[in-house]
């Protein structure tokens, strides 16, 4: 039965190769799969060693996927207005099927992602993996680190509770001290900066954290930042391959 299924055109159109355990099929498994072909067909032996890589980059990516999925589900139940935001959180926590699970997972995965990104950077530094030819990918990585912080920070406001509004108030209060661009920063007053036209005003959509801020942070959190982060992630992964795969000691042999 299964054998005859395998002979159909439909099956063959989906699965391009047979599954016998041969070198060729193993290679095809990677090359023919849109997700797996991110990988090379073969890697240096030490790349399979968790002790070397700590797996932090991969975990970060997995957490990003978890966050995307749970985040999209949460968007169904959440309205970014001061009138509804908190009520919707209560609804989510009390009533929505699997709502608490989705929200908890989104929050904890976000914390975990910040953690793993930091550890990933720590590992990359310790193995010197930013050294030529991977300098630029390190720069992309730093940008991704910043984007992760911004994603987490913008999401922090969305529950619209005391924790979020004051954390964001504390965070954004510093913006008013920006040199030149903040009304309390060095040379800000001399440049005509006031509470209602400085960089913080642009960030918050007002002179203090309020309903417009919520909308700004929501749009940033759900569209702007994820798109930017995804683009940089694509560059990051692509550069990993193009810069010679995972870093390793120079042994005279070129990886590719």
């Amino acid at each position: 039965m299964f054998e005859s299924l395998k002979k159909t055109d439909v099956y063959k159109s989906i699965f391009r190769h047979s599954y016998q355990d041969t070198q060729r099929n193993r290679a095809l498994q990677i090359v023919d799969n849109v997700f797996l072909h991110l990988h090379p067909v073969r890697v240096p032996r030490h790349a399979t060693n968790i002790g070397y890589t700590w797996g932090m980059g991969g975990i970060t990516f997995l957490l990003f996927i978890i966050l995307t999925i749970t985040g999209i589900i949460l968007m169904f139940y959440y309205r970014p207005t001061a009138q509804y935001a908190y009520e919707d959180m209560k609804y989510l926590m009390n009533d929505v099927p699997f709502g608490p699970l989705m929200r908890n997972m989104h929050r904890w995965a976000a914390h975990a992602m910040v953690l793993t990104v930091m550890l990933h950077m720590f590992r990359v530094f310790l193995t010197g993996s930013y050294k030529p030819p991977r300098q630029f990918n390190w720069v992309v990585g730093v940008l991704l680190l910043v984007l992760t912080f911004l994603l987490s920070f913008s999401g922090y406001l969305l529950p619209w509770d005391q924790l979020s509004i004051w954390a964001v108030t504390v965070g954004t209060n510093m913006a008013r001290a920006t040199p030149f661009l903040g009304h309390e920063g060095p040379f800000g007053a001399q440049l005509g900066m006031q509470a209602n036209n400085d960089v913080r005003f642009v960030l918050l959509g007002g002179t203090e954290v309020g309903p417009p801020t919520l909308l700004r942070f929501y749009v940033g959190h759900c569209i702007f930042l994820p798109v930017i982060a995804s683009i940089f992630m694509i560059v990051h992964f692509w550069r990993v391959r193009k810069d010679g795969g995972i870093s390793g000691p120079e042994t005279g042999k070129k990886a590719f």
């Binding site: 240096p44 070397y52 975990i59 530094f125 050294k131 300098q135 940008l143 924790l163 954390a167």
Partner: protein, 300 residues
């Protein structure tokens, strides 16, 4: 003690507990690996540079890790509810009001610096500095394996910055900073009525130079004194350059790279010095230092 349990069991603080332990573990792991490699001479990684098939040997590990992470996430999410506090209200300020945990290092810096440094200049310098690393670190060794011997300066500085100035300050900000951003030991109760001593003085005042004249305008002597202190501190890098400029290393680095390194390094150490100036004097009965340099536009 009850207080400690309360802080730790706050669901939002779990990541910091995780951070503390994972950073300690991974530092230890990296250190042992580096030590081994340094002892062997050739890194272990170099002996494992032949190729293996990604399918199945790498993919299966990745998949296994994914399952493990999913287990962790599910258990964590079912067991602990994400916090949801009172509805947002501008009229009542919680005490302490803290930034998200990953910014607590910067919030801690607010104790020692004005917001324009702690909140804007410092984060910008961290980002720029991090991005600059590949271009200012011209040491070709240590690429792709754990080592300490071959890149002592780079690893020491980075580890100091990451472990002490970032992770440790997050730890302090979470566990040791209570109401009013006052310092409490782990076993002390967070008393909202705690009253701290406020006797900070500007550095110039220690030498009897008042920062402000009786008519409340800035004392030019104090201004010049502060400028000398700060600029003199940064000129240490130049002095070192003049001394060592003929060494191979310096020649290889070039002036531009050296200036960037020295600026970033001195800035980082500047943080430590300012923290020291704030904390140490009290130990010998002096008042803490508030500002080193007061200008009409900004204070350092």
């Amino acid at each position: 003690m009850q207080n400690l349990v309360q802080i730790i069991s706050k669901p939002d603080n779990i990541p910091i507990v995780l951070l503390t332990f994972s950073v300690i573990y991974f530092s230890w792991l990296a250190w042992t690996k580096a030590r081994r490699n340094d002892r062997l001479g050739t890194p272990v990684e170099a002996t494992m540079d032949d190729k293996v098939q990604v399918w199945p040997y790498l993919v299966r590990v990745e998949f296994l890790m994914s399952i493990a992470i999913m287990i962790v996430m599910i258990v964590w999410s079912v067991a602990l509810n994400a916090p949801l506090e009172e509805p947002a209200n501008k009229a009542t300020t919680p005490n302490p009001s803290k930034a998200p945990w990953y910014f607590l290092g910067l919030q801690e810096m607010l104790v020692y610096f004005d917001p324009w440094i702690a909140g804007v200049v410092l984060p910008s310098l961290i980002i720029v500095g991090l991005m600059a690393i590949p271009y200012i670190d011209i040491n070709e060794k240590g690429n792709g394996y754990y080592t300490f011997k071959e890149r002592k300066f780079a690893i020491s500085v980075f580890s100091f910055g990451f472990l002490i100035l970032w992770v440790f300050l997050i730890f302090i900000g979470t566990f040791l900073r209570g109401p009013g951003w006052n310092f409490f030991w782990l076993w002390e109760k967070w008393d909202p009525h705690y009253v701290a001593v406020l006797t900070n003085m500007d550095l110039s005042e220690f030498l009897g130079i008042p920062t402000h004249l009786p008519d409340n305008s800035l004392n030019p002597v104090a201004f010049i004194f502060g400028a000398v202190c700060v600029l003199g501190y940064y000129s240490l890098g130049g002095i070192y350059w003049l001394k060592k400029r003929n060494t191979d290393l310096m020649k290889k680095l070039g002036f531009l790279r050296y200036s960037i390194i020295s600026f970033l390094f001195l800035t980082m150490m500047g943080l430590v010095i300012k923290i020291f100036l704030r904390l140490a004097p009290t130990a010998i009965g002096l008042n803490p230092v508030k500002y080193v340099w007061v200008t009409p536009w900004f204070n350092v």
